[in-house]
Amino acid sequence: MATGKHDQRALSLHDAMGCESLPHGWLQLPHGAEAMKRILCLWIAGACGLPADSCVLPADSSAAPAGDAHSAYAKQSAWDARQQQSSLRSRPRSNFQHGLRFGVGCGDIVPGAAQQSAERQSWPTTLHQLAQLCRQFSPTVGVIGADAPDSLLLDVTGTAHLFGGEAALAEQLAGQIIRYFAGDPPATTKQPGSDAAEVYGAIADTPGGAWAVAHWCRAGCWPAEWMCGSGRLVIVPPGRTPAALRRLPIQALRAEGETMEMLNALAIRWIGQLEALPRGELAARFGQRLLDRLDQALGRLAEPILPLESPPSFAAELTLCYPTGNREYLEAILQQLLCQVSGQLREAGSGAMQLRCELRCGSRDGAVVQENTAVSENRSGNRSSTQTLRLELGLFEPLCDATQLFQLLSLQMERLRLPGPVSSVHVEATITARLPQQQPRLFVGETAGGDRRQLAVLINRLCSRLGWHCVLGVQLQPEAQPELAFCYVPLIVPSLADPKGTALREHLPRLSTRQQTGGRASVLCEKSVLCENMSFSENISHAATNPGRKSGCVHIEMPVRPLRLLRQPVAVESSFAPSRSSAALCSETQRTAEDSLPPQFRWQGRLYCVRYAWGPERIETGWWRGRPVGRAYYQIETITGCRLWMFRQLGDGRWFVHGLFD
């Protein structure tokens, strides 16, 4: 096996660069290497695992392996330290500056990044989307293992020629990935290899080898003819994978931390060094796992690609040969499609949380032009000859019953004005959730789940007809300013495509500031709503399980508040001329409400005579919001017994009516 001399030769990087002077020992690939698979590995740098600049060889690495172990160790430890630092520091930068919109693991490490996590989707979702993107290049798309979730592996054996060779395939793929991360429409794509996203790729014979080369793609030790895609892609020619691996550090084997430490302690830095060691001792000292990794990378042991399943889509579509505007037909079609979708949902054990139904309508003259933009109802009817009417259905609880879904959709259908005959109908469950386990019922009409289920049905119905912004739960807020002391939370997932959603502020005047700020209100809403939704239903069910608790006993201590609060305080015209009725009460009024309470005032064209007032309750708050509020509130009773909630503005002493004790 490997002798000392052999070892020296094998580790010489200059020899390895030549690729011709490879030792012909056990390092050589077994017979049938030309039949070896070709694997493409894509590494999305900085997205999930290692930082983008971590996998760069030391500048003078070529001298390191064969040179003295001491200097190599010093360099290595310096490199390790840099890696640790950069893994903490450079991650957010590489994530956000380079246009990686969706990120992940870094949110846990970097405090600032956590704030942005609301607008980002989870890494697994992104990975699935990327895998979907990659499926056009290869039928097998997956990951190599749980320890390397930032890389996608494609089996491109026998598919490269379809795209004009491996280099062309890799560049096309990299371009698509970069476009995905840039998030731009295809018209404004950047050239592959630009700085939009840090994507590195490699094609090698083995998954492990491709992973290693992709991660050390910028190591600067590859022959120029292997490189393409402006230095981001390395294509290792068939059969050269062991040679390529030999010049990489042992980190490229994805070994465990303990093993790495041990290897470090023994000054074994390079795969070539490791390879030169006797196999038996290697396994005994470092465990079989390391040896397996080595064998897998070199192609002596099979390494599976764990395929990423495409996320299931629950959709059904029907294209009509003869477009129709007949509602009965359309409803029948809708029922049929909903049955299909609900069947798919039931099979997967999940229910729809949001359902989208798209009706593509042609114009009256019958010309149907393919246009994918969704045009809202009643708008631009004469501009385009095709409109896509979109019905969005949000649901309080996951639902997969076709009849109920149809009832909810028909609530919207009946208000819809069709601009023309419908040429195709598409139904899709856009958001799904796991369906709670339910005992099937023997008799039709017997509803399972009791109150909670029925409440969900009610909320679904209300939301479906009135819109999600009209059906609200209540959350008290720790705010002194009365109009901010609570916020309404929508009970279902607001639909992002809902045109009414843009008018969020008008519909929900007292929506919490958390949801109002920023242009991405809807995204934030979705998050918060889901939590609120859950807590609301949990609360309801919790309360239902404890019926013995009397709500009267649980009395929340709160200051006196009116049941009707005007949206805006209304200034009143106060008249200080003592009228006959209020003159007698003046003294009493003054006693309780300082000296400035008007004995009578005019509001909405009516004259109110103050009989008594309780107060003041001073509220001075909101300076940090930029709209300081200083008010002295009084509960005022008029001589007829009506009670109003008024305040005196502390700055200018004006009087406002703010509420009514209805």
């Binding site: 029925q454 609060l565 309780w614």
Partner: protein, 251 residues
């Protein structure tokens, strides 16, 4: 009403038929007071009483009012109409006290708030948990009536509070049927101008505020305009306190 016509030949009336000859002789010499009393009893029997559907009766949240009502409260599965004499009259507070009782087992209170001026913290003050509140803000009257109907029809809802301005008879009847179906308490706040309109509500109350003393407790005059099961119109004065209510009633 229609149900009474159906139920009149039922066994409930048989003893009455036997009593008829016994009562007849002293009907003519009896003083008119007695005649009226007899007629009242017969009317009550014909109307098949207050709680026709046999639902649970919930307290109104006001002891004095409970004493006046035949079952000791509002029957679930029915509509209660509050006619508010003025803004700031305390009517909604009275209604919410009944809603609190109806929602005691954790059922939600649906508030159909078309003007968007309902202030939930005040409801919390009265004793309704924020998590029980479900506020619906429809934009049109048709939507409002539909939402009331839907909410009333849902058996999971404890009570529905709404401010329907004008309701036509068909809609009103539909709401009443929905309440019977769902079994919740429908609390409708309407202006006093609706006093002359026919109503399908089980109980109609006119609420007027009275100027109180220096106490924060409100004084209200409640006029029992209509109540199935009792034929007499009563007016009572109640005092709404924060914790317990004390009130005296007068006919």
């Amino acid at each position: 009403m229609q149900p009474s016509a159906i139920k009149s030949p039922l066994p409930g009336n048989l003893p009455q038929a036997q009593n008829q000859p016994a009562r007849d002789p002293h009907l003519s010499p009896a003083p008119p007071n007695n005649v009226l009393e007899n007629l009242r009893q017969r009317l009550a029997r014909l109307e098949k009483l207050y709680n026709r559907t046999g639902n649970k009766i919930v307290s109104t949240g006001c002891a004095a009012l409970d004493r006046v009502l035949p079952g000791g409260g509002f029957p679930c599965g029915s509509l209660v109409e509050f006619l508010a004499s003025d803004d700031g009259s305390g009517t909604v507070e009275l209604a919410l006290r009944a809603a609190r009782q109806a929602c005691q087992d954790g059922k939600p209170l649906v508030v159909i708030d078309r003007p968007g001026q309902f202030y939930p913290p005040a409801a919390v003050c009265i004793g309704i948990q924020p998590r029980q509140l479900l506020v619906v803000q429809p934009h049109s009257q048709a939507d409002e009536h539909w939402a009331i109907d839907q909410a009333m029809r849902c058996p999971a809802v404890g009570a529905v509070l709404a401010w329907p301005g004008t309701i036509d008879q068909r809609t009103f009847r539909r709401l009443q049927l929905a309440a019977e179906h769902g079994g919740g308490l429908g609390l409708l706040i309407r202006p006093l101008s609706a006093r002359r309109e026919p109503s399908w509500a089980q109980v109609r109350l006119v609420v007027e505020p009275l100027p109180g003393g220096t106490s924060r407790k409100r004084r209200l005059r409640i006029e029992l305009l209509r109540c199935r099961g009792t034929a007499d119109k009563r007016t009572l004065e109640v005092k709404l306190g924060q914790e317990a209510e004390d009130g005296d009633w007068q006919t």
